[in-house]
Structure formats: C-alpha cells, structure tokens
Symmetry: C2
Subunit: 406 residues, 2 copies
C-alpha cells in the first residue's frame, strides 16, 4: 500500500474548525487506500505564546528548558488532530517525537536528527491506523527533549518520509505552492508546477520562506519527492524533485527578494596576501554568517572589501570588524542597512549564457544602480538600494517572461 | 542532606509573577541546605482550556489522546519553574513524568503508579540541582503517556517522597492548611496544626478538598509526613502523620459538609435474606459508588432501604433501582436531592463515648431533623435537609468548642 507523509503547518490547524477540516482531508486520503503518517506543527501562535511566557520568568532561559517548554505545542496539535480523526470513525494515534524514536544530538533549540527508529510507526500502520506525530522534536541519548529549530516540522516530515520510504512528502501550509515571485510584489506571478531541490534551496535561502532548507537537503539526500500545497484548497501545489523535467525549457524559475541583510565595507585595506582570510576568520570565529563578499582591488596597493550579514548580526559584526580594521591598518568601516538583494534562480541558466546580462539590463532600464553582484551555477544576485527593491523584482520578472499567460 | 519534596498547585503558579515568587521560595529553602524535588501542576486553568479544545474537535475524545493532550500542562509548568529558578542563579532541571521513570498501568485518565525508577532524579540531586517534575503523569510499559486523575500531582509528590525516602512532602496551594470547618461557613474555624492520615481521609472524602485521597493512602503506606500549606504566606500549615500527637486531648478534629449526594429509598421491600445483597450487587455492577446505607426493618415482614449516591450518578442509579424494585416486589422508589451530609471527624472520638449524643443534641437544639446516620471509628455523619446545612455545621462546631480562642 502506498505510504504518504503529510505535514500540516501552524496556520492549517490554527483553531478547532481548521483541525476538523484537516482531519476530513486526511480521512478522505486514507479512504483512497493510502497509508498515512501525518506530522503537525504547533497550533497558530502557540510557540510564540510559550516563548513569551519563558521571557517573563527569565531573562535568559536555558535552551534545554526552552525545548521542554515549546515541544508541548506540537504535542497538543498531535493529540487534537488524532481526536478529530477518530471522531470521523477513522483510527488514529498520536505520538511525540521521542515516542517514535527520533534521536537527535544534544544541541538544544537546533538539534540534528541522528536516527529514527520506525518500529512503533510501522506497527501502528500495520494496524491500519493513521499515525500522527508531533513535529519539530526528538530526544537526545540521555532522553532530554530537543527541538530542531525553526521550521523543524518540515524536517521531521521529510526525514520520516525518507526512513519509511514514503512515495511522497506533502507539506501543507497557507500558500498554494512556490511562485515565480512573491505575488504581493508581482501580481502576475505564476505558481510553479515543478522545481528541483537545488532551486528551492536557493529560493528559500533568498527569502521565499516555503520550506526549511535542512528539510530540502534531507529530501535531496534520500531522494524524497516533496509536494508543497495549500490545506485550504484542492490545488496540486508545487512538486520538488531531483530533476524537474518540466523545467527544461524555462531558463529562470523565479525572482526572489531579501531585505534582511546589511552591507559592511572595510575601506582602504592594504592589498597583501592573507588579509581577507584574516578578516573573515575573525568574523567566523564569532559565529557570524557571511552572505555575499566582493573585493575591489584598487590602485596603489589598497582595496575595499564589502560583504553582507543578516541585519540581526550587524552590531556584533561591526564590533569585530572595527577591531580588525585597526589591526590591519584599514582606513575605516562603513555599513548600510538600506539594501535589498534581488536574485534570479533557475537550473536552466547553467546552460544558457546571457542571463546575467539580461538581468543587469532590466535593472539599468529602470535606472537602478547595482552595488554588489554574486553568481553561482543556478542563481545570480544583485545588491541594490532598498527603495528600488519591488520595482526591480517586477522588472526582472517581466523581462524573463515569468508571469501568467494572459 | 535532608531531602524535601514540594508540590505546587495550579493557583500557586497561575502566572509568571507567581512562578517567580515560588522560585524565590524554593531557592531560599535550597540555600538552607536542603535537597529539593519539586512537583508542579498545570498553570491556573490550563487543563480546563485544553479539555475545552478537545471537546471542540471531538464529541467523545479517546482517553489515550486526552492524556497526550493534558499532560502538556504540567510539562509547561515544570519548564517555566526551572527557568525561573535558574534566573536566580540556582541550578535546576525539569522532567516529565515519563522521563523520571514513573511507570503506570494503562488506565488512561486515572492510571495507577506501578513503579518509579529514581535513578535520574538521584543523579541530578547529586549534582546539587533542584529537580522539577511535571506532576499528574507517567507512561505505561508501551511508553504511552498516562495521567493519574484529578489531583494526581499530589500523588506524584507523595509517591516520589516515599520512593526517595524524603523527610517531608509539602503540598502548597492557596489554603493555609486544614481547618476545623470551612471558614466560609464558620468564621471562627481554626487551622489544625496536626492531623492523622485517617482523619484527613475522612475529611477529604467528606468535602474538604485539600488533598487527593489516593495521595494520602500512599503517604500512609510509606509513612511520609505531609505538610499542607499556603504558597502565599509563611504559615506552617497542617502536618499530617500516622499519629498526630497534639490531637490526644482534642476529641473532634473538624466538622465537614457535603452537598454532593442524593438519597434514594426503596420502600416496602420484602424482608428476606439476600434481598439487600441483590440490590447493592446490581448497583455495584453498574460501577456506581454507594455512600451511606440504612435499612429500617419494619413490621409485617417488609422494610425500607435507603442509601446515598453522588448526585451525578442519580439518574443511572434510579434506572437500575427501579428495575430491581420490580424484580424483588418492592412497593416503590423515592429520591431526594435536597440533602446534606454533616460529619464530625476525629481520631480522639474512638476512646471518648458520647460524641454522637452531643452531635445529635446540637442538631435537635436547632430543630434540625436527622434523616440518616452512619458511624465509623473516627467519624459520625448525619443526613439532614440541605436548607439547614450551614446552620448545622456552625452549631456542631460551637458545641465541640472547635473555634479560635477569643
């Protein structure tokens, strides 16, 4: 019998009415002859509410206790969904992550899955039950409860699909699928029918928050097809696989926008070997992630180094960089928070030259200046002024003909 | 080092402010050189809120899933209290019931504790940590989460105190201790300094809802001293032990009132051997608990049988009794919901004759008619009309001189 793993996000089960709707959908799928494992997130804003409570009793709550606290959110969802399914006369049983043998390392609040013992799940599937599992959680070898970090329920679902050799992992949320651009910015944006793991990885990290990146990486490793779809409609959503066949013709899959980065520049850096390495090692030692880097080698033996970091890391970064600047004899440190990163993503572009040129041309036609550029095999990103961000996305989206056919 | 088990009820930790206050109290006790295991209930009305959610998704939620759902309440409390203690620079760690090896049978929503593996608790105590445990819960041998029924956190605390051979089990709530009568009815009611297990058992089952009965039974079995006290004051509360020495002089410990019972009478029952047995076996087979029973053997070979049941069981009881009445040829069935049970409780009365006579006299002096009487070694109960209930309690309380000295 075909096995499907489904995951329902917080908005899909935000209240009793929605839980009952999801239960109906699950039971209908079951009656079509599928075996079902369902992973759930916490109801609506439960996690935020719990974190708020934690901050009210402690300035700096220990991560082990945070995990103990927030893991209850998914447990509540799992129990309620099991009840709702049972009330439709279908058999269901709920489990916490630890109960179904999801063993992780001990990195609380961002644990990694080490192994899953699927024995209990297989037993319950054999009894023809729908198995409901609290997402986002597991336990370490000492039986402490751990959580997998933001979006961790996606990871639970995909990892279970991999271990159980499920035919598909369906990720339900309040969006219809993955779009060629954010429909709020580009009304003509088109839902993609298919996408590759690599493309979704670039899309997600660039701002289209559809799927947790680690979940996609695991899906890629185990070759689990993922279908991203809405729990509020019957749409087929977007299928994510190793190679998205229908993509062959399309060069670019989508345009993404990210406003969460800030740019930092070291001016007047002596152009000696090892200087860049020294700068970035010092930053990495502080656990700060660098996104884009460019170095302009200037005349007279000095250069400028610019890079972007997440805005939340900016303060920490400036403190480090100012110290380093002094040590290496740089002239000064600048920063700019009013930037945006616009990117085009597409597996097709690997074998199609001229994509970058077309992107730059469309920006130029709008009179938008490009401050930084970075490219990889499947994406090209430009840093521009924040005020031009939406205009840039629309221009590029139109230039590549990504919108719906009229 | 002396070990104390403390239990904090839902009202003691109803919000972040109260959790922080309780944390301070715990840390102060720790600094006086005690080892501490703390058991917590769910915050304020959490359990009711979760049950309401369950009823919104299902007409008849399965008990296994109810346990999965409501056990999160105590887990949340445990995590928050651990955080609050840590923020006072004391070491603490929280656990669920299953994590500390509380193994129960599989009777979901009313499970019985089978065993406790205290290894993990002892390890953490050795590391000088305050161990916080989610009350009310455990898991069965198949690792399903179970709960211990209403008031189950008391049971968790007392059972742990017994297994860990703690010096004392302190039960914190919003009451100062056990009183000679309900202070809302008798303003002169006095807090008792000490009480025996048997007395509190009679008091609790008669309406003074201070401690779960099963918890007292376990305390008696393991000879664990219990101190009932308030988390909102410094009062010493009431100490409950095998033999309350300070009770020697007092004959009666308290007066209790219970309005939750209804009286059922079978009239004109043929007075043959085995008839009463048949009546009560039929009722017991329906899982209905009988409280008081009296049988008036009348003349001409017929008698009346009266008994009381919980009001919630009245409908079920009447259905059964009417059938039985027909079978045995009884004349009819009466019932009365407007009754109250007033009782005096006291270990002292075992060796003091005349207590019953004084109680009846005080009721007679108020012109209150007694409908039923039952006595045991440490209590005497009278069923009277509900409208006289409070007046009766005050009269008896005064007659036995239980009030505060002026």
């Amino acid at each position: 019998m075909a096995l499907i793993v489904q995951k329902y996000g917080g908005s899909s089960i935000a209240n009793p009415e929605r839980i009952k709707k999801v239960a109906k959908r699950i039971v209908a799928t079951k009656r079509r002859g599928k075996q079902l494992v369902v992973v759930v997130s916490a109801l609506g804003d439960t996690t935020d509410r719990l974190i708020k409570l934690a901050n009210q009793v402690s300035d700096k709550p220990a991560e082990r206790e945070i995990d103990m606290l927030v893991s209850t959110g998914e447990q509540i969802s799992a129990a309620l969904l099991a009840m709702a399914i049972q009330s439709l006369h279908s058999q269901a049983i709920s489990f916490t992550g630890p109960q179904v043998g999801i063993v992780t390392d001990s990195s609380h609040t961002r644990a990694r899955i080490l192994s899953i013992n699927t024995k209990r799940i297989r037993e319950e599937l054999k009894r023809d039950r729908i198995v409901i599992i609290a997402g986002f959680q597991g336990s370490d070898v000492k039986d402490n409860i751990t959580t997998l970090g933001r979006g961790g329920s996606d990871l639970t679902a995909v990892a279970l699909a991999g271990m159980l050799k499920a035919g598909c992992c369906e990720i339900y949320s309040d969006v219809e699928g993955v779009y060629t651009a954010d429909p709020k910015i580009v009304p003509q944006a088109r839902k993609l029918r298919a996408l590759s793991y690599d493309e979704i990885l670039e899309m997600a990290s660039l701002g289209a928050q559809v799927l947790q990146n680690r979940a996609v990486e695991v899906a890629k490793k185990f070759n689990v097809p993922i279908r991203v779809r809405s729990s509020f409609s019957r749409g087929r959503g977007t299928l994510i696989t190793r190679e998205a066949k229908s993509m062959e013709k399309a060069v670019v899959s989508g345009v993404t926008l990210n406003k969460n980065e800030a740019k930092v520049s070291l001016r007047g850096v002596p152009d000696r070997p090892g200087i860049a390495a020294r700068v970035f090692k010092t930053i990495a030692d502080k656990d700060i992630n660098i996104n884009m880097i460019i170095q302009n080698v200037g005349s007279r033996g000095i250069s400028d180094i610019s890079f972007t970091v997440m805005k939340g890391d900016l303060g920490k970064t400036l403190a480090v960089v100012k110290r380093v600047a002094k040590d290496i004899g740089a002239r000064g440190v600048n920063f700019n928070e009013d930037i945006a990163k616009v990117s085009v993503v597409g597996v097709g572009m690997q074998s199609h030259p001229g994509i970058a040129a077309r992107m730059f041309a469309s920006l130029a036609a709008q009179g938008i200046n490009i401050e930084m550029i970075s490219t990889s095999e499947i994406k090209i990103s430009c840093i521009i002024a924040k005020k031009h961000a939406e205009k840039a996305v629309r221009a590029i989206h139109a230039k590549f003909g990504l919108g719906r056919k009229k």
